[in-house]
């Protein structure tokens, strides 16, 4: 996503009276609309004191949910990095018919409701699904297992890396790679020595966003996970489970872990944006 990169010298001098109330309105609205929800998470999590908060965080089911969330991200993010790099290479280094259609297809998961994504997977791998009878004959169960969570998370997060890399690699062109190829470098050498150094920050940027969504996905995962306590509950599902158990303090305690993830994501994002600007992205 684009971010400001205009040199400060081109910007207007300190605002006159008109902008001052605009800035004020912006700050107040953001404080109410965005900072408010952020602060109340910690307020609610600590409502019964630090000892309860600690006990909630160290609850066995919550710890298992953290573990499953991390494992899911560890499987999903590398696969979507590979997909993103392959798609970006094919799309930006070559000309072929149907390129626009391919780009739109890559965008599909971002426009589909997470619940719809879940239903799609249920109707593919579920017992009533397209592959259902075939999977049953082979005695393989996909739905309501950890692999189902991973598959649907792959769907939901697949565009992140690709859509960071494609515009950047398009701007960078192919000249450097073509020189390397003319000099006799192999495909892998060209990618590792020429392309990768040029795209590494954007790649990381996409991976950070992909990771945040993979760890935080709720709707799609809730359809395919079956919500089996201590087995197929990811951290966002655990938050919902505790909340519906009338354990709001516990739900908010689990939510602080995900909020911390959001903070780390935002910090990494801001840091990476400074680097990607240097590479001609954003």
């Amino acid at each position: 996503m684009a971010i400001s990169h205009q040199p400060d010298s081109l910007l207007q001098a300190p605002p006159s009276k008109a902008p001052r109330w605009l800035i004020g309105a912006g700050i107040v609205l953001t404080a109410l609309f965005i900072v408010g929800p952020l602060l109340i998470i910690f307020d609610q999590a600590l409502a019964k004191g630090l000892a309860v908060f600690r006990a909630n965080l160290l609850h066995a089911e919550t710890l298992h949910a953290v573990w499953l969330t991390v494992v899911t991200a560890l499987v999903v993010v590398p696969l979507n990095i590979l997909f993103g790099v392959a798609a970006a290479w094919a799309i930006t280094k070559f000309e072929f018919p149907g390129k626009k259609l391919l780009l739109t297809t890559i965008d599909i998961p971002f426009s589909v409701s997470p619940i719809v994504a879940g239903v799609c997977y249920l109707l593919l791998y579920g017992s009533n699904g397209l592959f259902g009878p075939w999977l049953e004959a082979m005695d393989v169960r996909v739905m309501f297992t950890v692999p189902a969570i991973m598959l649907v998370t792959l769907f939901v997060t697949s565009p992140f890396v690709a859509r960071e890399l494609i515009p950047l690699m398009q701007v960078q062109g192919r000249d450097q790679e073509e020189v390397a190829a003319t000099l006799g470098a192999s495909g892998w050498q060209i990618f590792r020595r020429v392309t990768l150094p040029n795209i590494k920050w954007a790649l990381l940027y996409g991976a950070v966003l992909c990771n945040a969504r993979a760890m935080g996905e709720f709707g799609a995962v809730s359809v395919v996970s079956g919500n089996i306590r201590g087995q197929t509950n990811t951290l966002p599902l655990q938050v919902q489970l505790l909340y519906h158990d009338y354990n709001a303090t516990g739900a908010f305690a689990a939510a602080t872990i995900l909020t911390l993830l959001a903070f780390v994501t935002l910090i990494l994002k801001a840091w990476l944006e400074r680097h990607t600007r240097g590479q001609g992205g954003h």
């Binding site: 910007l11 929800p37 609610q44 280094k93 070559f94 000309e95 859509r163």
Partner: protein, 293 residues
């Protein structure tokens, strides 16, 4: 921003013959293209095809019965209505934030800029319980709003608040770079000719950012239509009142009524596709205008 629209902007025109010659220079087309198509087919297209095929299995009559049932229609109305309210709010708040962040330098600007991305970084379920706690009758905002007669939690307003929260970065991040690219000369010329600040904004600035604003709002609306995690906690989920379409899908799944769930899902999928193509068209139009200028 959609990638295909971005590509139009950056892709230099290449003569056909030259590009064919270039294809031979770089290796890896077969491998990367094959991997991309295989992955897309397996992860994206096959599941989407399964939804469409399974719904078609049930026949059109069954499909129509489900989506024209009073409860489904009410759910669509709630979803569209709340998404419209959310988008209207984001259109104004998002434009304000894009303007403030792009145009002015002030203490805390960096933090404000980073905070705008919070809704994308914060898992939706967390946003959902946080907004519910905030606007509930005993919450920080609720205990002020409810005595004043504004009930947010368990109303369509609450649904709209959750939708607006999760989708506001779309508007800000689509409009902000366009404001940064605006040339100061036209505004200065208008000011020299005696235009007021408001006239400069409505006649000079807004027409230039309108296409981006429209695209951002379309994305915000699309996201709101599909939002689930943030909404279900604050909505109260009363059928015919605050039940959104994605939740009705979920309820039908829990009742093992898969044909009903898939029929409603197909409608949401069709809406999503339409909005995706609309957004792409707006972006393409916007970039064509930029090039013409």
């Amino acid at each position: 921003m959609s990638i295909s629209a971005t590509l139009d902007q950056t892709q230099p025109p290449r003569p056909a013959v030259k590009s064919r010659a270039r294809r031979r220079v770089l290796p890896g087309f077969g491998l990367t293209m094959g991997a991309t198509l295989f992955y897309l087919a397996l992860i994206v297209l096959l599941p989407v095809a399964a939804l469409i095929l399974k719904t078609a299995d049930g026949g059109f009559l069954r499909f129509w019965q489900v989506i024209s049932s009073p409860r489904a229609i009410a759910a669509f109305e709630v979803t569209i209505g709340a998404a419209l309210i959310a988008t209207a709010f984001n259109a104004i708040y998002g434009l304000l934030m894009a303007w403030v962040l792009a145009r002015y330098r002030f203490p805390g600007r960096r933090i404000l800029d980073a905070l705008i991305d919070l809704p994308f970084a914060l898992p939706t379920a967390v946003a959902g319980i946080a907004l519910t706690a905030l606007y509930a009758g005993n919450g920080w905002f609720g205990h002020i709003l409810e005595p004043a007669g504004v009930k947010v939690v368990y109303t369509i307003v609450g649904v709209a608040v959750a939708m607006a929260f999760t989708s506001v970065p779309f508007v800000v991040r689509t409009v902000q770079p366009v404001i940064e690219e605006l040339k100061a000369e036209t505004e200065e010329a208008a000011a020299t000719l005696g235009a007021s600040d408001w006239q400069i904004f409505t006649r000079v600035i807004y027409p230039a950012i309108f296409p981006a604003h429209l695209a951002g709002c379309a994305m915000s609306f699309a996201r709101s239509m599909g939002e689930f995690g943030a909404v279900i906690f604050i909505a109260g989920n009363l059928p015919f009142q605050t039940e959104i379409a994605p939740l009705l899908i979920f309820i039908r799944l829990e009742e093992y009524d898969y044909p009903a769930a898939s029929a409603i899902a197909v409608v949401l999928l069709a809406v999503a596709f339409t909005l995706l193509l609309t957004t792409n068209a707006i972006q393409a139009w916007r970039l064509k205008r930029v090039v013409k200028d």
